[in-house]
Symmetry: C3
Amino acid sequence: MMRQASGHLTVTAPRPGLHAITADMARWVAAQHMEEGLLTLFCRHTSASLLIQENAAPAAARDLEAYFARIAPEDARYAHDDEGPDDMPAHLRAALTQTHLSIPVSGGRLALGMWQGIYLFEHRRRPTRREIALHLIGA
Amino acid sequence: MMRQASGHLTVTAPRPGLHAITADMARWVAAQHMEEGLLTLFCRHTSASLLIQENAAPAAARDLEAYFARIAPEDARYAHDDEGPDDMPAHLRAALTQTHLSIPVSGGRLALGMWQGIYLFEHRRRPTRREIALHLIGA
Amino acid sequence: MMRQASGHLTVTAPRPGLHAITADMARWVAAQHMEEGLLTLFCRHTSASLLIQENAAPAAARDLEAYFARIAPEDARYAHDDEGPDDMPAHLRAALTQTHLSIPVSGGRLALGMWQGIYLFEHRRRPTRREIALHLIGA
């Protein structure tokens, strides 16, 4: 019998950059007791985003953060600067990554690859409470 | 009882850049009378794309458009140039943003954050009829 | 009656770059005999990704590959370089494109536009076996 479940995850990343939420997501999915389905995460913000990335090497996360700081820098001349120098680059970095992710559930577990982790990508410097809406459909 | 609905939205943006479709989407979802579910928008083109961005500051939208014009410029030397100088950068800007978006529906409404809007991102200079396929599943 | 189907596609791209999987996906969807639904593809790797792009002009694919090689180059100084010079740029190119795609199914077929193809975007130089998890829900 097909059914669905909704919820949300509230996260405050202690610093800008990648913040792992894989374990939170695995726990929430397990609690819904579905064998097969589709999980969707939706970040309700435009200055933070979602990303699936390599979960093993901390250096890879640092390289990725440095890369986005370089291609969408703080010191460009933006027209929209009244919310601080880290606001407009935050929107750009969010536009270049994901606002939502959908991940199949199979055998009661997320179908992530061995080296994949789910991350909130925080783009603002000041720690901010972020809400991620969750939706699971399946059986 | 779970069910689904399909439809499409046809949009012609009057100029290149971000074109808000949030209200159209809210209206279409409301007309399906589902309390809980998942909406998927799928842009059936490779020179226009979809994006969730900040809905309040027009300057932020202009900065975002200028940014994509800069990182995927018209005057690079592309091999594929027979459809005009704005064609290949259009494909690149589409590749860097989204062809599809999925947004949970909760309490009969899209679970968008307060500052989030849904946008068609038109990358071609000439106004073009764009079709976005819609799918809603839920109850 | 709503139901779902799960599966996977295993692909080894003979060279880095765009590798079309549109026909494989059309075949798999047809075999599930659903009139209306939502297909989700999920790439279980962080050094390969998914992309919907123009399916007609080989020059457009080459331009796109050259573009990503340029904006996320091999010869930058990455901290994470122990898996080879093509590893970190692979993660960056994956972050800039998609780990998952969701495509509505209508009239028993994928709702792709006429010029759209589905691609595995292989970012590593050595041919590697890639697994894409598939999920279809509908009726």
